[in-house]
């Protein structure tokens, strides 16, 4: 191997080393910038809203109440310790459903939609479209004997 070969290889190595170094350095800065622009996936914040006392509902009974945005929520005591809650807006076309005690079902008068105790559409247009009632998450504080529903917390920006 003669001298020019050696020196051209050295030049080539120097160019590669410089290229990789510069590429990595600027690459790290670019990555940080990219991560900055991608918003972090943050779990939506919720808070508990007082819905009623456990003692106010008998087993099998349904109690309607309104959340802060004016949505009507139907709260049902399924068993001694189990509770269910559904938004009372029919998923079909937005009429108000109600609980029918004798039939043990939720009923929408607009198009005769029927939902079973678990909110599943069983007959009428909602059943055809497989549109079930929207469940509302609950928090039960048995020690205090209180039921809460989980609602979205106000946006963090407006603090």
């Amino acid at each position: 191997m003669d001298e020019t070969d050696k020196s051209s290889r050295r030049d080539w190595l120097a160019t590669v080393a410089m290229g990789v170094g510069l590429g990595l350095s600027y690459g790290v800065f670019a990555l940080e910038g990219l991560l900055f622009l991608l918003p972090r996936q943050i779990k939506a914040r919720t808070r508990n809203l007082f819905a009623g006392k456990i003692s106010q509902i008998r087993v099998g009974g349904v109690r309607p109440f309104f959340d802060l945005e004016g949505n009507e929520i139907l709260l049902r005591r399924k068993t001694e310790r189990e509770f269910q809650a559904f938004n009372s807006t029919c998923p079909h076309l937005g009429c108000k459903i109600h609980w029918e005690e004798e039939e043990q079902r939720y009923f929408c008068p607009c198009h005769r939609g029927v939902f079973d105790v678990d909110g599943k559409a069983v007959s009428g247009p909602p059943a055809d479209g497989n549109q079930n009632l929207t469940p509302v998450p609950l928090q039960i504080d048995e020690a205090a004997g209180v039921i809460y529903i989980e609602v979205k917390a106000a946006s963090r920006r407006r603090t």
């Binding site: 910038g33 991560l35 900055f36 920006r157």
Partner: protein
């Protein structure tokens, strides 16, 4: 052999078609980047202008990133900055980079100005480029003032109040200028949106145009080859290539600058003071350090005198190449005097700045 020729001709065909769609003479780019660079540019104090440009690019990139989260309204500005600093991934980093790059940009600009002054780089035929450079200094200081006000913490809010009230003391146009800047009789939500538009729209556009003219004039005049006493440079080493030699050096300086800014961001991250309270002025208010000399001046004399004095000084500095020529012709002074004037002016600036920072 025939295959190779075919391949080459098809490549040429593609190039030909691209050049038809985009009829640009790439030879111009080759020529522009092949410009030989004089040896003395390897000395760091001749790279200060390029450093300012590099920092400006950092400001543009981090600034655009920050606008993704910043909300220019009085009740959300502070909160959105708190969110950038605390919640957003690398938010503290991007914000600190923006802050420190702005400070470094002003330092580099002052040093560049000193270099140009003491090497006589503003003299005939380059007077106009001094004026453009001085306008860029003004634009950069306005960037600093409006940007700092956007944070909407106590100090920056009252800084904006004092700053716009200063504008009111400008003779003749003062009151209408202040009213226009604030978008009303006092600092309000209008002021914030005006400063925001200035900071991210008007000033950047102005800066781009001025930088383009500044660099264009440098290239049109060319760079004078300097010789230093007692320095022997062999003939073949008197120049080096812009591409790739100088470009690589610039990229390396850029990486070093980023490391420096990163260290600054880690050791002194951009903080956040009390949120703006338009009802209560804090006990001690101070502008950013680059306005210290003016702030000190403001306390030494009356408002009107200090504003008029600053304006006159600014005008003289802006037109300095022409002022100097005129004075030289009229009073037949030697270069030594102008070096002394430069030293005294810089010392005056330094004394006022240091004085203010210790009060």
């Amino acid at each position: 052999m025939a295959e190779l020729q075919e391949k080459q001709s098809s490549q040429a065909g593609l190039l030909h078609r691209v050049s038809q769609l985009f009829p640009f003479d790439w030879e111009l780019v080759r020529q522009a980047s092949a410009e030989p660079v004089p040896y003395h540019i390897k000395k760091w104090w001749f790279c200060l202008g390029g450093t300012v440009l590099y920092l400006f690019v950092i400001q543009v990139v981090t600034g655009i990133a920050l606008t993704f989260y910043y909300i220019p309204s009085p009740d959300q500005a502070y909160q959105s900055i708190a969110e950038i600093t605390q919640d957003v991934r690398f938010g503290w980093y991007i914000r600190s980079l923006h802050k420190w790059a702005s400070n470094c940009m002003i330092v580099a600009m002052f040093l560049h100005l000193l270099r140009v002054y003491f090497t006589g780089g503003y003299r005939h035929p380059r007077q106009l480029n001094w004026c453009i450079g001085f306008l860029l200094l003004g634009v950069t200081l306005t960037f600093g003032f409006t940007g700092y006000s956007l944070v909407y913490e106590q100090l920056s809010f009252w800084g904006a109040t004092v700053g716009t009230n200063l504008a009111e003391a400008v003779p003749l146009i003062g009151p209408s200028l202040a009213y226009f800047l604030r978008g009303g009789p006092e600092v309000s939500e209008n002021t914030l949106t005006r400063f925001y538009v200035l900071h991210i729209g008007l000033l950047p556009t102005l800066a781009f145009v001025l930088i383009f003219l500044h660099v264009l004039l440098i290239r049109l005049h060319g760079v004078t080859e300097l010789k230093f006493e007692g320095e022997e440079v062999p003939e073949e080493a008197r120049h080096f290539r812009f591409w790739p030699d100088h470009a690589t050096t610039e990229l390396l300086i850029g990486v070093l600058l980023m490391y420096l800014l990163t260290i600054m961001a880690l050791v002194f991250p951009a903080g956040l003071g009390e949120p703006a309270n338009p009802i209560q002025t804090p006990e001690h208010i101070k502008p950013e350090w680059y306005f210290y000399f003016n702030f000190r001046l403001l306390q030494l004399t009356s408002l009107r005198v200090s504003v008029v004095f600053t304006m006159a000084l600014g005008a003289i500095c802006f037109l300095w190449p022409f002022v100097e020529e005129w004075l030289t012709r009229k009073f037949k002074v030697s270069d030594r005097v102008w070096v002394m004037v430069g030293v005294l002016a810089f010392l005056g600036f330094l004394v006022l700045t240091v004085w203010e920072s210790f009060v």
